[in-house]
Amino acid sequence: MSVQLWTYLFVFLSFSLYIGIAVWSRAGSTHDFYVAGGGVKPLVNGMATAADWMSAASFISMAGLISFLGRDGTYYLMGWTGGYVLLALLLAPYLRKFGKFTVPAFIGERYYSQSARLTAVFCAIVVSFVYVCGQMQGAGIVFSRFLEVDITTGVIIGMAIVFFYAVLGGMKGITYTQVAQYCVLIFAYMVPAVFISLMMTGNPIPQLGFGSELTPEYGGGYLLDRLDGVSEQLGFGTYTEGQKSTQDVFFITAALMFGTAGLPHVIIRFFTVPSVRDARRSAGYALIFIAILYTTAPAIAAFSKVNLMNTVNNAEYVSMPSWFSTWERTSLIVFDDKNGDGRIQYVGDPETNELTVNRDIMVLANPEIARLPNWVVALVAAGALAAALSTAAGLLLVISTSISHDLMKRCLAPHITEKQELRYARMAIFVAVLIAGYFGINPPGFVAEVVAFAFGLAAASFFPAIVLGIFYSRMNRQGAVAGMVTGFSFTAAYIIFFKFLSPELSNASHWWFGISPEGIGTFGTILNLIVALSVCKFTAAPPEEVQTIVRNIRLPGEHIEPSKPAI
């Protein structure tokens, strides 16, 4: 069977599964729709969280990014996993105890203020929208490459599927489809990795394989030593050594960690488990499921880099295998024979380099480059779609609950019935899917960039406000709002200046303390903390009932009524 036929088969099977689950788990109440009835088992929630979290970027782009960044690629790996330690220790159990549906609901009640709630609604919607457009675009690329339909059709199919199960099942439908999607995506990610690891090193475990010796057909010697040697020789810099400045890597890692812990679509997953203990356990499961992919990604990065260099460097253009021309057609590979010798020179110096490789194909084309069977190639397509759709669904739910619950029910129309609220939630998803689809088809040039910055913004706004809200009971409305506004605007200004207004100045000599716009969120977080704490010092303490809320969320177990004098 051809790759295309296999792809149709896998995509059809997986999509029928998602739709079947959606029909089976219809949501009847807002409680079902927002938090899946609140009875999700920790293991199930852990799996769903992992699928929710691992997006098209994790699945398609990350290994490629690492293979071009070498050791510096670490900031994605540590940033996107280390954030879970913060989430588990500082946020998840307490927010679960708080027991509401959304992140803006926490901010609004803890800081006893509608303007704080609305600020949070605004941040949640902006961050989620930017993100969801990227997912739609990812789905479009996969459809167009593997099913050879055009990107527009691809995006529309993706939209229809997500729309169907998100609108029907809300959080309940999303939870169980995410479990299925996790299984599909992790299988699709691991199978090629295991194959390639076996082929190149004889070790079936990719995590160990990339620290092993190459088999004699590949020339023997440790894989990483070979990679270092070839990279240096071609002028790319040593693979296992850092190229960026230490403080920049430090700040980017921190910004990604704080951002991970502050992203609303991940936080709301912890509202679906029955108790505080389950929230802790569920964070543990989530990180295990995520770590399986995240420890495999650097292995894939190293394997595919070696493979790519072996295949292309100084080889004749006409003798390139068939995947080369397939990907050339999508212009993700571009060959420009500068010296006219008919051979590919793939080197670090941009003057003489003749090959441009888009980082995304390192995962998508990897099975073809390694000459794996057709069904493995097709599996990767199904996995990438699972990753994109699962994250898109989680994000759409954040947008929908922010609008129906926080904006309508809590602000604009407090008297609506539960049925009406549910209808608003479904309408909000519908509109959000349409807008996301539009941007997936007509991507504004800056989506990819902004996605990375969404972390900086989440880090500089949500993270400090939530942590202070839990750990510092005297933190008041004035301090929190001032902190969020300062952190968000400072980070946004720095990013907009260097990325959109004066991109020509964006280099280490103009950056403050050598921190790139990607890492500035850390600075924004610190600024937020300083401003919040100092404003809080000079303004009145929060009212007694708010301090009772704080005392309450610090204790696991059943809710204690605020009317009781002592807890």
Binding site: R71, Y84, V85, T253, R277, G284, L287, R554, I567
Partner: protein, 99 residues
């Protein structure tokens, strides 16, 4: 649960979190970034140690950290009888002696 008990429970909770966050900082920012070049002189198999910590070890460390946290919090909850389906007021007595 009395006010005093709630306070001491919370202090114990914060101590656990702070201790674990120190380890978190050390394995990620410490070993993976600040000390990575220094650690690179040691090797395990084909990995330089600093590189391995940055791309593998720190992630395993994070998983272990969360599990240590779950265990320590379970113990603490048990100590303060917060793990039973709570009837907080009836369990007030005796907790101070245990903790």
């Amino acid at each position: 649960m009395s006010d005093k008990n709630a306070r001491s429970y919370w202090q114990a909770n914060v101590r656990i979190v702070l201790r674990l966050l120190c380890v978190w900082f050390f394995i990620s920012f410490g070993c993976g970034i600040l000390l990575a070049d220094f650690l690179d002189q040691f090797r395990i198999g084909g990995f330089k140690l600093g590189f391995w910590m940055a791309q593998q070890g720190s992630i395993y460390g994070f998983v272990i950290l969360i599990y240590v946290y779950i265990r320590q919090m379970d113990k603490l909850d048990h100590q303060y009888k917060l793990d039973q389906t709570q009837s907080a007021d009836s369990s007030d007595t005796n907790i101070e002696e245990q903790s």
